[in-house]
């Protein structure tokens, strides 16, 4: 980025006023929901959803119309003293995805267990669920819009505080244990992150990522700081080998919570890893560290997929598949940095992978929830003939699976194809090989579920309870979103390029 372009990011731009609204709206929702309590909280949270959807769509349109990064200076104080909110193409894509998935999971929960019917006694669990859902939304929007290392620390902590109680909402011992393990990983991660941010401030006296990217030099303080911050973020993203907390936490949570945790929460800390290694650290400096991160990602793909193949329970299989799919995201880092010709494709591919995995995984977790409600368990060995009972749900699960495998015409195909072609074009064949292996393994674990589910049952499948058809349709809509991304027109993909970091270090060249 040229200095003049950096300077232009130090004033509030047109449409910039939308950015704080995207954070204020869900926060106001949390406060009002707590005030209203019970049924009022449920209805209020539902009313916030369309408003949040419109707001995030408006930000995406704003980025598109302005054809540049949207900036809002809080209190009109420019950085380094003030805090700037910024939205680029990646932020806009994540904001819209977040709004859609939270609305989908929210409607799913409202049609299911988290609605208090008229006349019934109000319970604590639904109130906790709805306030946590809105808190989660606040924290996610805050992460996607912040550009200040300390502000991002606070946003990440808010996210942890909203995500951990969602894991143990039912209060049973195994989920409490999973939540505790998740909290410890997250706390250690944020302490390491804050230590890194302290060192960066000590070296440069600034915390604004855009300003810092002009100043960082390859020196020990920066290496130690980015190393600590990255280690902390990897613990929160659950990248191999720090993934141990993820499967029990995501598999034990209630279905709508699992969907949000797996689709969105792990992406927030990944988003920050991208900000760190593609926005903050300029190209030749980031070359070697991003190779290490991609190697961990490759290990996550293989290890996570093989473990997913060995699971006996559907929700654990889907959770291990998240461990694997997170690996693909990290393959974007060495490919998308610098001003290379392949960086454009790799950047788009990485963003598409984050978005399409979010939709596919949300659909799959919600589908698993419906399966468990219908037959009373989620053992894969007992799924015979479930396709007869829940045709739409099993179809949605299959569509989500197509996206994970990377088969056309899904969003996962577009993402993996772009990453694959970038890997081949840049001569980094090893990542291409891992991606192909990962696709095959994903095919294996999706087939393990679909084959019995679609087989003709020998005896009638015992049905414990019926599920509302509206919930089946919601799951299908989310899965279709993952498909539709594969048909995204080039103009939409150009939106993702807005704000793509292409800075290179002048001193090293």
């Amino acid at each position: 980025m040229t200095p003049s372009a950096a300077l232009s990011q130090m004033t509030t731009t047109a449409y910039g006023f939308l950015l704080p609204l995207a954070i204020v709206l869900p926060v106001a929702g949390v406060l009002f929901a707590l005030l209203l309590g019970g049924r009022g909280a449920e209805r209020f949270a539902l009313a916030v959803m369309p408003a949040g959807l419109i707001l995030s769509a408006a930000i995406a349109v704003g980025v598109w119309r302005a054809n540049g990064v949207l900036v809002y200076l809080i209190g009109a104080w420019p950085p380094p003293l003030g805090i700037a909110l910024r939205a680029d193409g990646f932020s806009a894509a994540m904001l819209v995805t977040t709004a859609l998935i939270i609305s989908g999971a929210g409607c799913f929960a409202f049609l299911g267990n988290y609605r208090t019917p008229d006349g019934a006694t109000e319970a604590r669990a639904p109130l906790a669920f709805w306030t946590l859902l809105l808190s989660l939304w606040t924290a996610l929007n805050c992460v996607f819009l912040s550009d200040d290392l300390f502000n991002l620390y606070v946003a990440l902590e808010l996210l942890t505080f909203a995500a951990v109680p969602l894991v143990c909402l039912d209060g049973r011992a195994p989920t409490l244990l999973a939540a505790m393990r998740y909290l410890l990983f997250a706390l250690l991660g944020s302490a390491l992150y804050l230590l890194g941010a302290t060192l960066i401030y000590g070296a440069y006296g600034e915390l604004d990522i855009t300003l810092l990217s002009q100043k960082v030099r390859p020196e020990p303080a920066v290496w130690v700081a980015t190393g600590l911050m990255t280690a902390g973020l990897l613990a929160k993203t659950a990248l191999f080998p720090l993934h141990l907390w993820l499967p029990p936490a995501h598999a034990g949570a209630p279905a709508p919570a699992s969907a949000m945790l797996s689709a969105l929460v792990v992406k927030a800390s990944f988003f920050l890893v991208v900000r760190l290694w593609l926005n903050l650290i300029p190209w030749p400096m980031s070359a070697a560290p991003t190779q290490i991160l991609a190697a961990l990602g490759a290990a996550a793909i293989l290890f996570g997929s093989v473990l997913a193949l060995r699971q006996e329970r559907l929700k654990l299989l889907i959770a291990y598949s998240t461990v694997a799919q997170i690996g693909y995201l990290f393959l974007m880092l060495p490919l998308a940095s610098g001003a290379h010709s392949w960086a454009v494709a790799a950047w788009t591919g990485g963003v598409l992978q984050a978005v399409s995995h979010a939709f596919a995984k949300a659909a799959m977790f919600l589908a698993a929830g419906l399966v468990a409600e219908t037959i009373g368990h989620d053992r894969i060995s007992g799924l015979h003939g479930i396709g007869r009972l829940l045709p739409m749900t099993v179809f949605a699960f299959g569509l989500g699976g197509l996206s994970l495998m990377g088969l056309p015409p899904s969003g996962g195909f577009a993402a993996k194809w772009l990453l694959l072609s970038a890997a081949v074009e840049s001569g980094q064949w090893q990542w291409a090989a891992v991606m192909l292996m990962g696709g095959l393994l994903a095919g294996g674990y999706v087939f393990r579920v679909l084959a019995p589910a679609l087989a003709a049952p020998n005896e009638p499948v015992p049905q414990r309870q019926r599920v509302a058809p509206g919930r089946e349709i919601l799951v299908l809509v989310l899965a279709l979103c993952a498909m539709l991304i594969g048909f995204a027109p080039p103009e939409l993909l150009d939106l993702l390029q807005i704000g793509r970091p292409v800075s290179t270090m002048a001193v090293l060249q």
């Binding site: 606070v154 049973r172 505790m180 909290l183 302290t198 209630p254």
Partner: protein, 112 residues
Amino acid sequence: MNSTTLAGLCGAALVGLGLFGFVTHPNLLRKILAFNLMGSGVFLLFGVVARRGAAAGIGADPVPQALIITGIVVAFSATALAVALLQRLFKETGQATLRSAPKGSSVDGADV
């Protein structure tokens, strides 16, 4: 060695001790205390950073102090959440460590 360097080394030592305790102690309450020790070390380092800014002639840098206060509030909330979770875990299972639950009961499919 001046007092700023000494404070910085103390901060680093606190972070190291906290990290060691966090990783090695199986008892969850000790882990939470170790996390707080680590946090105190980070805040002390932030203070040293502010002091170094003063040594460079900018006057006492007020930004890190504002950040420390925010950080303390965040760490306090984190501790409160962790302790509440630990209390509930102890009430449900009688254990205060991360020993795994009996095999097979880890994820009950019936819950949705």
